[in-house]
Subunit: 694 residues, 2 copies
């Protein structure tokens, strides 16, 4: 890195140096993103720590704005007045100032012209205003390196062993989560990258307070990292009394960042992690230098049911490479090859181990020590492991969020009109078990029209690079939404997919998205979303039917007054005629004479037959007992009844559709002296009639 | 990694282990991609090696299929017959076989039914066939670990120093390209990742032959890597005579891969690297076990002009972080702070260094040793470097492809109808200079309708993850193509963008795409594409005009026979009347009598006036000198002439538009005894008339 080194001199980098120089690989792209990634890495570590001891997590996150002046005070660098004003970036020469003022005046004039032409508030005026604002911002805000924050995350987790703390936090690629186990972190990078970033920007160290459960003391460390050597550099180490029996960790560091650019991401991240971890409580506080810019959000715990924590498992034989086989053989404590196979691999029984050893041939015996295998025998073993069919891992070591939690989260997040959830079966890729859970929602608050995907991997939300992610791509391109009566463009569709696995095929160490090239995962994601859609389709079809029914009722109801009046006027006239039999209807006869002469007999009406009035309507009309109002009331009643009938029928159908068969459930009399007669079947119960008692 | 380690035991990974476990970060996602990435990493190293000694690169790439049987022979593992057939993945129990056959029969029946219904070749039939083929493939081809390849890449580059070879190839994060310099490789990962992959899959080592220019001996190594220790593991080391004075490197290794899945990517990569490196020759051979599947492609050198190689530069003050400042201070050989500032940083003159030291205050003096700065003074220096305005780096250390090379490449790649190229100015992000070059083409061979982007970074093609790339995103979303008369959906548009920089903000170590979040880069890419579009617009407008002109000519020509006939028939009749003066026109008078009675005098025709026939057309017609054919010939001539005139005018306009002013260029007579009269100006030349000779 030293620029004077000969161009082709060979240099060796420590992993810390490598990641310091290529921060973006770990999600530390720019100051704003660094702030975001720091928060999420610390939060995920905190959740893992609490879950590892089956404690309901309570995480406190604080981001405190640190002005440059304050930072300098902390670092012991006093403020210095500028001596040579012209050196600085924000220095403006007389000429530049003149130019700027001229430009501003011109812009203003242009704006005024636009206002005169289009009127205040018109689109072109607003566009011009926006442009001017952007230019002003670009001119003023381009200077980097002025925004600093102290990030603190406190949990109630397992804490860290006192002597391990320096290595856990001050050494890149060191960690406790490297086993075959579903964990949020995996790379051993997150917290260390935050520390490297703080060292690169503020130079201030990490501050750690930590206590293990039941410990009488808590550890207090102040440390940073020697990037060149990839070694922790301890400034202060002490143990403090822990009278309250507190356990957990509190980590604090000061970094450059950009709250205003990444505020929405940080808040979205916290909202989504609260969605997928409803058994955790989060309190978040942003403390600005000016109180009015501060922000405080609490995400309350919404359930006390914590999914069983994931367990470490063994390597599946089909997932191991040649190198790993060698390492396992070297590290094993097993005395014989058969025991080695059984103990170190998943899905290998004692009997299968025997068969494998027999199949190896090449002079391999089951009771030979694993360390004594020759290189060629190892190659043969590796090859055999890939040729033999093993059972798939069972996946009981995984800890999916659970349909209940997922549904709870979605309900809270988007308040949808409709929701369906599905948990897929355990699937396998390259010997790693994985489970896909999905929820699909339609409608709701704050949801845009179209497909909105929410992605979770090992129960962390993924917010970036969604265009390339397997979940987004599947939701957008591989689901025929129309087949499920969902309008991909117009409906507000939420697609929530959570994948858990001992190995998530992330692209990049930043854990930002899952590649689209693992076929097994593509298929599983698609199947899970489709399963939700099938459930939704039934509901949507029913909802459409209900909406139509409602509409029909509304239309019928609207017609009632007119219909009632019309019927009544007919009845009234009939009643009148019934009353005065011989009286001629004024509409009939009379003025029709001229036509009679021309048109002939065919247009002459027959005398009306006597009305059959079994129900005695006409006398009722005559007596004013039956009026238009009473007719309207009866019609309304009738429309309502149809509605109720259909609703009942609908409920019954829904019950049947949902597979709720009627169960025989009797309150049995205590004695057998009763005799029963016929059964009366109603929709919701069956009544047996008592026919005798002896 | 050992599964029996306590779940929360702290483990330390070597960088080699880290990348072995997270291969996908470096572009080693799956066997097919690994084959692709291995080829490209070796090819890029080879190009860098040749360019570093300004040698026109000649690269030979061979991929040789190695069957499993042959691999086993090489590894000394003989073939073994299966003893326990039921163990294997491809074993099919009687029951499974019965099931499969039943399913196949059923599928066949279904297919037959579809054929009966829709007819052979109909869409549903083909879809069903495809489904069946996919199912058969999935059932048979799912087994991994059977496809192996030997990859060899040979170059004529700088070679490697004998004693450095093990560390250069057998240690992750060690390299020669870590300076501030534009290079293809950067991470010190590529070749080592290929070695790790070979170790994980075949266990076979790297074989290297290398010689420096002018060396009497060449080095021969066989080595692999101890992944756990991140150390080279040398199997064989020797020096061989080098009588021919050859220099360069030849690397060979055997890996698992998948040629058929990634063949198209490998070929596309080679095509594109040939496009952007037209001064290099590439020969590629794929040797399959069966000769008929082999493939051979040569990419010839198309120019001998090699752009000047990039040079290493110094850190720009605005790009350094606190950590780097500390490291530079520690490593410098400068005796005083002012010398340190001038020597270690770009764009810092001696005078500026003095001013900077003065501005630091805090008791800092220009002649104090850089090593004696206190921590606080270092913090102050770092802060100052970010507050002060420095000149932007000049970018003359970069080596862009050049517009000429880019155009050459595009012409060869797509044979476009129209092309425009543009090289942007040197721009800067985070203190790193970068240059964006672009070419936009319209039309051509093998180009799909719509925007096709071709991306290059430090002169390597990027093929993957294009959806998230700054170039694709800019081309797709930030260019208003319609404004340049380009139809974004229907036209065949090729967008070629090449970015060179001392730091390319790649996302991930796989060098697959450039993130979309560096504003300076977004702006520069947009500007470069737009500059091409502006050029194209003129051409397109002209092409449209030319097309319209051609169309008009075609239409006019089409009308000529009819027009000639019509005119001639008129002339003929006129000539006849002229000949027999008193003869009455048969159309006139006679049958009009009845109407005369009704309509009156206004409809009566006047006697035709005598024809003015100045050109003597009518006699010519009468003499049969002017016929329809001669008329047609004259009209054709006229249409042609208009066309020629317009073409001339068009060319002149084009010349003027392109800024080609007419230069006075005379063949001067040797003596001055000539006198010249007036000048005759034509479109393309000026003629001076000779008026006298003394």
């Amino acid at each position: 890195m030293a620029p004077k080194a000969k161009a082709d001199a060979l240099q060796q980098k420590s992993p810390a140096e490598f990641f310091a120089e290529n921060k973006n690989i770990a999600g530390f792209d720019n100051p704003g993103k660094c702030l975001y990634t720091t928060v999420r890495e610390l939060v995920e570590n905190a959740l893992d720590a609490a879950e590892s001891i089956s404690e309901l997590p309570h995480i406190e996150i604080t981001i405190e704005e640190v002005s440059k002046a304050r930072l300098n005070r902390i670092r012991g660098v006093e403020h210095h007045d500028r001596l040579d004003e012209q050196l600085y970036q924000d220095f403006e020469s007389e000429e530049a100032k003149k130019k700027r003022l001229a430009k501003e005046a011109k812009d203003k004039e242009k704006l005024q012209k636009l206002i005169d032409k289009h009127g205040e508030g018109a689109a072109p005026v607003e566009a011009e205003r926006k442009k001017m604002a952007a230019a002003a911002k670009a001119a003023g805000g381009a200077m980097r390196g002025n925004l600093f924050y102290r990030v603190t995350v406190k949990d109630n987790g397992a804490g860290m062993p006192h002597r391990d703390i320096p290595n856990m936090l001050g050494r890149v690629l060191s960690g406790t989560k490297y086993g075959v186990k579903q964990t949020r972190g995996k790379f051993g990078l997150g917290a260390k990258m935050a520390l490297i970033w703080s060292k690169m920007t503020t130079g201030l160290p990490f501050e750690i307070v930590s206590a293990r459960p039941g410990a009488a003391n808590k550890s207090h460390y102040v440390l940073d990292i020697d990037i060149h050597r990839n070694e922790p550099n301890v400034h202060k180490e002490e143990t403090l009394p822990n009278p309250g029996g507190w356990h957990g960790s509190e980590l604090g560091l000061t970094i450059e960042g950009n709250w205003s650019h990444y505020r929405s991401y940080i808040v979205r991240y916290l909202r989504q992690i609260a969605v997928i971890t409803p058994y955790a409580a989060f309190t978040f506080a942003y403390k600005a230098e000016e109180e009015k810019n501060s922000l405080r959000i609490n995400f309350r715990r919404r359930t006390d049911v914590m999914p069983p924590p994931p367990r470490a498992t063994k390597h599946h034989p089909s997932s191991v490479d040649l190198e790993l086989v060698k390492r396992l053989l070297k590290a094993t404590e097993a005395k014989s090859l058969t025991v080695f196979l059984r103990k170190e691999f998943d899905c290998v029984s004692a009997a299968l181990a025997e068969r494998l050893v027999d199949e190896m041939q090449m002079g391999v015996e089951g009771d030979m020590s694993p360390r004594n295998l020759t290189d060629k025998q190892v190659v043969r073993l590796h090859q055999l492991l890939h040729e033999v069919r093993f059972d798939d891992p069972r996946g009981d070591h995984l800890s999916p969020a659970g349909e209940y939690n997922l549904r709870l989260g979605v309900m809270k997040e988007v308040h949808p009109d409709l929701i369906a959830t599905h948990q897929g079966d355990v699937k396998v890729f390259e010997g790693h078990a994985f489970i896909v859970e999905a929820a699909v929602s339609v409608g709701g608050r704050d949801v845009k029209s179209g497909i909105n995907s929410y992605r979770f991997a090992n129960r962390i939300p993924l917010l970036f690079e969604q265009g390339s992610d397997v979940i987004t791509k599947t939701a957008q391109k591989r689901i025929n939404w129309a087949a499920y009566k969902i309008n991909q463009a117009a409906d507000k569709v939420g697609v929530f997919v959570s994948i858990v696995s001992t190995k998530i095929p992330f692209k990049g160490a930043g854990k930002e998205y899952i590649g689209d090239d693992v076929e097994e995962m593509v298929a599983a994601v698609k199947a899970a979303i489709q399963a939700c859609c099938v459930q939704l389709k039934t509901k949507i079809v029913r909802a459409i039917a209900a909406r139509e029914q409602k509409l029909r009722k509304k239309n019928l109801t609207k017609c009632i007054p007119d219909a009632a009046n019309a019927i009544f006027s007919v009845l009234e006239r009939m009643a009148k005629r019934e009353a005065g039999e011989g009286e001629e209807d004024p509409d009939d006869g009379g003025p029709g004479g001229a036509e009679d002469g021309a048109g002939g007999a065919k247009r002459r009406r027959l005398a009306p037959p006597p009305v059959r009035d079994d129900k005695g309507l006409l006398p009722a009309v005559a007596r004013r007992e039956l009026t238009a109002a009473t007719l309207a009331a009866r019609l309304t009643e009738y429309v309502e009844r149809i509605d109720t009938d259909m609703a009942l029928e609908y409920q019954v159908q829904q019950g049947l559709a949902a597979g709720i068969a009627k169960e025989p459930l009797y309150l049995m009399p205590l004695s057998s002296r009763h005799s029963h007669g016929p059964e009366l079947h109603a929709n919701t119960c069956v009544v047996r009639l008592l026919s005798g008692y002896t």
